[in-house]
C-alpha cells in the first residue's frame, strides 16, 4: 500500500471521518491540489485517480493494513489522528470544477510568445500564442481529458518548457527536493551550532574571580535590567 494512502487512511479512520467525508467534496478537494507531484509520484493522476482512490480508500477501511506508528492510548490517539488528518488535509487539499481546472491548468502552463509569463497572466499586446493556447486548453477540457493528458498534449506541441514548474519525474524531482534538503541541513547545522555554543566553556579569568552562576547571575541580571531600563 502506498504511503500517502496509508497516511490518509490512518488519519480518516482514527478521527471517525471516513464515512463523513464520503461524498462531502473532500475527494474533489484533492483535484487542483498544489501538491500534485506528491500524488503523481505515487501513481495518481490529479483529476481522476486520486479522488477515486481516496474515496475508495476511506470507504474500504482496509483494516488488515498494519499501523504505521505504535498506537497511543485513546484520547491521545484521537488527538494524534486529528493532527495527522490536519497535516494530510493541508497536504492534499485543493478545489476543483471545470472553471477551477481551467484556472489551475492555465497557471501551470507558460505562454510561448516569449513574454515569460504564465499562460493566464499573459496580456502581451497582440499576443497570438496565449489566445491560441487558451482555446486549446478549453477544447481539451471540453473533451473530458484528464489533467495529465492535457499537459502531455501541450508538452508534445510546445516542448517541455511550456510547463511552468518542473514535473515530479526523473531529475526534475531534484528541483523540488533540494530546498527542503537544504532547510533540513540548515536546521541540523543551526542546532549543532547552538549546542556547541551552549557547551563551550566560560573563558577563564586571569585574576581568578569566580563567574556568577544560577540565581546569583539572575540577581545581577535583574540589577542590570533595572539600571538599563527606563
Amino acid at each position: 500500500m502506498k504511503l500517502s494512502n496509508r497516511v490518509l487512511d490512518f488519519a480518516l479512520k482514527g478521527c471517525g471521518f471516513d464515512s463523513a467525508l464520503k461524498g462531502c467534496g473532500f475527494d474533489f478537494a484533492l483535484k487542483g491540489c498544489g501538491f500534485d507531484f506528491a500524488l503523481k509520484g505515487r501513481g495518481f493522476s490529479r483529476a481522476e485517480s486520486a479522488p477515486k482512490s481516496m474515496a475508495a480508500l476511506a470507504a474500504a477501511g482496509q483494516r488488515a493494513t498494519p499501523p504505521l506508528w505504535p498506537m497511543p492510548e485513546k484520547p491521545a490517539r484521537r488527538a494524534f489522528h486529528a493532527l495527522i488528518l490536519t497535516f494530510a488535509v493541508f497536504l492534499f487539499m485543493g478545489a476543483g470544477d471545470d472553471s477551477a481546472r481551467f484556472k489551475d491548468l492555465g497557471h501551470r502552463l507558460m505562454c510561448t510568445c516569449g513574454c515569460g509569463q504564465v499562460l493566464l497572466e499573459c496580456n502581451h499586446v497582440g499576443c497570438q500564442s496565449s489566445e491560441k493556447m487558451r482555446n486549446e486548453l478549453l477544447a481539451a477540457l471540453d473533451k473530458g481529458n484528464n489533467d495529465d493528458l492535457i499537459l502531455q498534449g501541450f508538452v508534445q506541441e510546445y516542448g517541455p518548457t511550456v510547463i511552468a514548474a518542473p514535473t515530479a519525474t526523473g531529475f526534475n524531482r531534484v528541483a523540488w527536493i533540494m530546498p527542503f534538503v537544504v532547510l533540513a541541513l540548515g536546521i541540523a547545522f543551526a542546532v549543532h551550532i547552538v549546542r556547541s555554543w551552549k557547551n563551550r566553556p566560560e573563558p577563564a579569568l586571569a585574576d581568578g574571580i569566580p563567574i556568577p552562576q544560577g540565581s546569583e547571575l539572575d540577581e545581577f541580571r535583574q540589577k542590570v535590567r533595572k539600571e538599563t531600563d527606563v
Binding site: G34, F35, N123, T161, A164, A165, A175, V194, N199
Partner: protein, 681 residues
C-alpha cells in the same frame, strides 16, 4: 562629444588602476614614503569620481542634444522623447547602466575617501578593494561595452527610441534606487574584507559600516518594491511579482543583506557569528554581481532583461575571482574570527537571530536554485525546463511564513535568556489578537481548508497580525514606563522611547511595514477579473463595482499615437471616479504598450482597500470597440504603504540615539517596570 566621453573613461581607468596599485603597495609599508604613496592613491580615487562623472554628464548631454552619432544614444533615444526619459537614457541600456554602476561606485568611493580620518588604516584597505571593483567596471566600459561607440555609416536622422516599457515615471527612479542598493553593498563588503585581511581588532568596522549598510539596504528595498510597482502599473497583467530571473536577482541580495543586518547585531553585542557575518556580506556582494550578470548576460531568459550581451563572461570571471579571494582569507584568517561568548539558552534573542538567518538563507537558496535549475537541467537532461511562479510559490512561501513567525516572536526574546514567565506575559496579547484575526477571517467566509492559497492567506494574515500586535505591545509597554517616569502623554512617551533607542524601535517599525506588505500580498487569492468588449453605455459588474463605458477615443503626438476608453466607476449606484485605460503605439520603436489605470478604494474601504485595475486590451477591428479587462485586486495598496513604513523605520533607525532621560528628583517613586523582554540591549 564622444571623444570627451571616451577620454574621460580612459582617464578614469588609469586613475582607478593607480589608486588600486599604489594603495595596495602602500599597505605593505609603514614608513613616510608608503604613507605618501597611500595618500596619492586616495586622491587618485577621488579624481576617479570626477572622471566618471564627466563621462556620465557627457552621455546625458549627448542624449539631450540628440547626438545620434553615438550608437548608444541612437539605440535608446529619439528626438520626441520627453526630457525626463532622456535623462533616464543613462541607465536604459547596457553600456549606460554599466557607466551608471561605475559612477555610483565612484561616488560611494569619493565619500569614503573623504571620511578616511575615521580610521586611516581600515579605510586604506577598503579604498583599495573599492578601487579593484572600480577597475573591473572601467575595463568593461573601455573594452567590452563602450557607451561612446560611434555609429557606422551615414548619420541617422532620428533614434530608434527608448523601449516603451521603460517610458514610465517610475523608470526614472527605480533603476537608480536598485543600483544604489547593488553598488552600495560594495562598501560594507570592502570594509569586511579589509578588516579580515588586516585582522582588524574588535567590531569597530561594523559600527563604521552600520549606516552604510542600512542606507544601502533601504535603497535596495525601495528599488525592489518600485520594480514590483512598475510591473504592476506598466506590464498590465494585474500582478506585481512574477518570479522572473531579474526580479529574483534583486531579491536575493536583499535577503542576505537583511540576514546580515540582523546577525551583525550578535557580533556587536555578543561577539558571536563573526565568520557567519563575513560570509553573509561576501555573499550579498557576490549576489549583487550575480544580479548584474543575470540582467546583462542573457544566460537566463527574462521578461525584462533589457540589455544582453557577451559581457557575462567578464562578470563570471570577476565573481569566481572574488569568491576565491574571499574564501582564501576567510580560511587563512579564521582564527581571528572566534566567538567570544557562549549561548546561555535556546530561548534567546541569539538563537532567534540564528534561525531567522537560516530561513532567510533558505529562501535565498530556493530562489537561486529555481533561477539556475533550467541551466542545470539542460546540462543533465539535455533540455531546459521552466521554473516559474508555481515552483516558487509552493517552496518559498511556506518558509517565508515561518520567517514571519520568527519576526513576531524574535523581539519578545531577550538577549542571553528569556524566562518562560516573561515570554507568556509578553506573548499573550499578540497571540490572542492574531488568533482573533484568523477567527474573523473564517467568520467572514474565508475557508482555509478549501484551497492551499486560502490556507496560506489565512496563515499570512494571522502571522502578520502577530507581528503587528507584537510591535504595538512593545511600543505600549515602553511608552507606559516612560510616561510614568516623565509625566508625559503616551504618544510623546513613545516618541521619546523611539528616540532613546532608534535602532531597536526603528527596526520594529520596519517589521510593522513588512507585516503590511504581507497583508497586501495575501489578497492575491481573492483577486477577480472580467474581460469584455465595451460599446457606449456597456457595463461590467465586478465585485461591488459597476464599470460603465462612457466613450472611447484616440489621439496622436510626436512620440506616440494612443487610444483609450473613458470608464465611469460606480459603487452602490454612486459614481466614485472615472478611469482612462490606454494603449499607446510608440512611433520610433514601432512597439505598442498598454497603460493600465488603477483606482485604490481608500475612500470606500479604508482597511480592506481594493485596487480597481483596468487594462485596455485592444480593439475589436470589426466593431471598433475597445476590449477592457477589469481586475479587482484586494489589499494591494497595503504593499506600497508597507514600503513607505519600512523606509520610515529605516530612517528612524539611522537617527542617533538621544541621551538617556534625566528623571527629575521630584518624580514620585514607582515600582520598577519592565520594558520589553529584551531588557539587556
Amino acid at each position: 562629444m564622444s571623444q570627451i566621453g571616451s577620454f574621460a573613461l580612459l582617464l578614469a581607468l588609469g586613475l582607478s588602476a593607480y589608486s588600486f596599485l599604489a594603495g595596495f603597495l602602500a599597505l605593505f609599508g609603514k614608513d613616510a614614503a608608503s604613507a605618501r604613496l597611500g595618500e596619492t592613491a586616495r586622491r587618485a580615487g577621488i579624481a576617479t569620481f570626477a572622471a566618471v562623472l564627466l563621462a556620465g554628464v557627457v552621455l546625458v548631454v549627448a542624449a539631450f542634444n540628440d547626438d545620434f552619432s553615438i550608437a548608444y544614444i541612437f539605440h535608446h533615444s529619439n528626438r520626441a522623447l520627453p526630457a525626463a526619459y532622456k535623462f533616464a537614457v543613462l541607465w536604459s541600456g547596457q553600456e549606460g547602466s554599466l557607466l551608471f554602476w561605475s559612477l555610483l561606485l565612484a561616488g560611494y568611493g569619493f565619500v569614503l575617501r573623504l571620511r578616511y580620518k575615521t580610521d586611516q588604516r581600515l579605510f586604506a584597505y577598503a579604498s583599495v578593494i573599492i578601487a579593484a571593483v572600480q577597475v573591473f567596471f572601467l575595463l568593461i566600459l573601455n573594452f567590452a561595452a563602450h557607451p561612446f561607440a560611434i555609429m557606422q555609416g551615414a548619420l541617422p536622422a532620428d533614434g530608434t527610441g527608448l523601449n516603451p516599457l521603460l517610458q514610465y515615471p517610475e523608470m526614472v527612479i527605480h533603476p537608480p534606487m536598485l543600483y544604489l542598493g547593488y553598488v552600495g553593498f560594495t562598501v560594507p563588503f570592502a570594509f569586511a574584507l579589509g578588516a579580515l585581511i588586516m585582522k582588524y581588532p574588535g567590531e569597530k568596522w561594523i559600527q563604521i559600516t552600520r549606516r552604510w549598510t542600512m542606507v544601502t539596504w533601504c535603497f535596495l528595498t525601495i528599488g525592489v518594491f518600485l520594480g514590483a510597482h512598475w510591473a504592476y502599473a506598466v506590464l498590465g497583467w494585474g500582478g506585481y511579482w512574477g518570479w522572473d530571473p531579474v526580479e529574483n536577482a534583486s531579491l536575493m541580495p536583499w535577503l542576505t543583506g537583511t540576514a546580515f543586518l540582523h546577525s551583525v547585531m550578535m557580533q556587536e553585542k555578543r561577539g558571536m557569528l563573526k565568520v557567519w557575518n563575513m560570509a553573509l556580506i561576501f555573499a550579498t556582494f557576490l549576489l549583487c554581481m550575480l544580479g548584474t550578470f543575470l540582467t546583462r548576460s542573457g544566460v537566463i531568459s527574462s521578461v525584462h532583461a533589457f540589455a544582453q550581451s557577451s559581457i557575462g563572461t567578464w562578470f563570471l570571471v570577476f565573481i569566481v575571482l572574488t569568491m576565491a579571494v574571499c574564501t582564501f582569507f576567510l580560511i587563512a584568517n579564521r582564527s581571528h574570527l572566534k566567538s567570544e561568548h557562549k549561548l546561555e539558552s535556546l530561548v534567546s534573542r541569539e538563537s532567534s537571530f540564528l534561525f531567522n538567518n537560516l530561513l532567510l538563507l533558505v529562501v535565498c537558496f530556493t530562489i537561486l536554485w529555481g533561477t539556475f535549475f533550467p541551466i542545470l537541467s539542460e546540462f543533465v537532461q539535455g533540455h531546459k525546463v521552466t521554473v516559474g511562479p508555481p515552483f516558487f510559490n509552493r517552496v518559498a512561501v511556506p518558509v517565508a511564513l515561518l520567517l514571519l513567525l520568527l519576526t513576531a516572536v524574535g523581539p519578545l526574546l531577550a538577549w542571553r535568556k528569556t524566562s518562560v514567565e516573561s515570554l507568556k506575559r509578553n506573548f499573550l496579547f499578540p497571540a490572542v489578537g492574531s488568533l482573533a484575526v484568523g477567527g474573523m477571517m473564517i467568520l467572514f467566509g474565508v475557508r482555509p481548508w478549501e484551497d492551499p492559497s486560502y490556507f496560506y492567506a489565512t496563515m499570512a494574515a494571522v502571522l502578520s497580525a502577530l507581528v503587528i500586535f507584537t510591535v504595538i505591545s512593545e511600543f505600549l509597554r515602553g511608552g507606559r514606563v516612560i510616561a510614568g517616569k516623565t509625566q508625559q502623554n503616551l504618544v510623546s512617551a513613545m516618541i521619546q522611547l523611539c528616540h532613546r533607542n532608534t535602532r531597536r524601535y526603528g527596526g520594529y517599525i520596519v517589521h510593522f511595514g513588512v507585516a503590511l506588505v504581507v497583508i497586501g500580498i495575501l489578497g492575491t487569492p481573492f483577486n477577480k477579473e472580467v474581460e469584455k468588449e465595451m460599446g457606449f453605455g456597456d457595463k461590467i459588474n465586478i465585485g461591488p463595482y459597476t464599470l460603465v463605458c462612457q466613450s472611447y477615443t484616440q489621439d496622436d503626438n510626436p512620440n506616440y499615437a494612443n487610444e483609450w476608453a473613458i470608464i465611469n466607476v460606480f459603487r452602490g449606484g454612486k459614481q466614485i471616479t472615472t478611469m482612462y485605460p490606454e494603449r499607446r503605439f510608440y512611433k520610433a520603436s514601432g512597439q505598442p504598450q498598454t497603460l493600465p489605470r488603477i483606482y485604490p478604494s481608500f475612500r470606500e474601504d479604508l482597511f480592506l482597500v481594493t485596487d480597481v485595475y483596468l487594462v485596455y486590451e485592444g480593439k475589436n477591428e470589426t466593431t471598433g470597440r475597445p476590449i477592457i479587462k477589469a481586475h479587482l485586486n484586494p489589499l494591494v495598496p497595503w504593499i506600497w504603504i508597507g514600503l513607505i513604513i519600512m523606509v520610515f523605520g529605516t530612517i528612524v533607525a539611522l537617527v542617533p540615539n538621544a541621551a538617556a532621560v534625566q528623571v527629575a528628583a521630584t518624580t514620585p517613586a514607582r515600582a520598577p517596570a519592565h520594558v520589553g523582554a529584551g531588557g539587556l540591549r
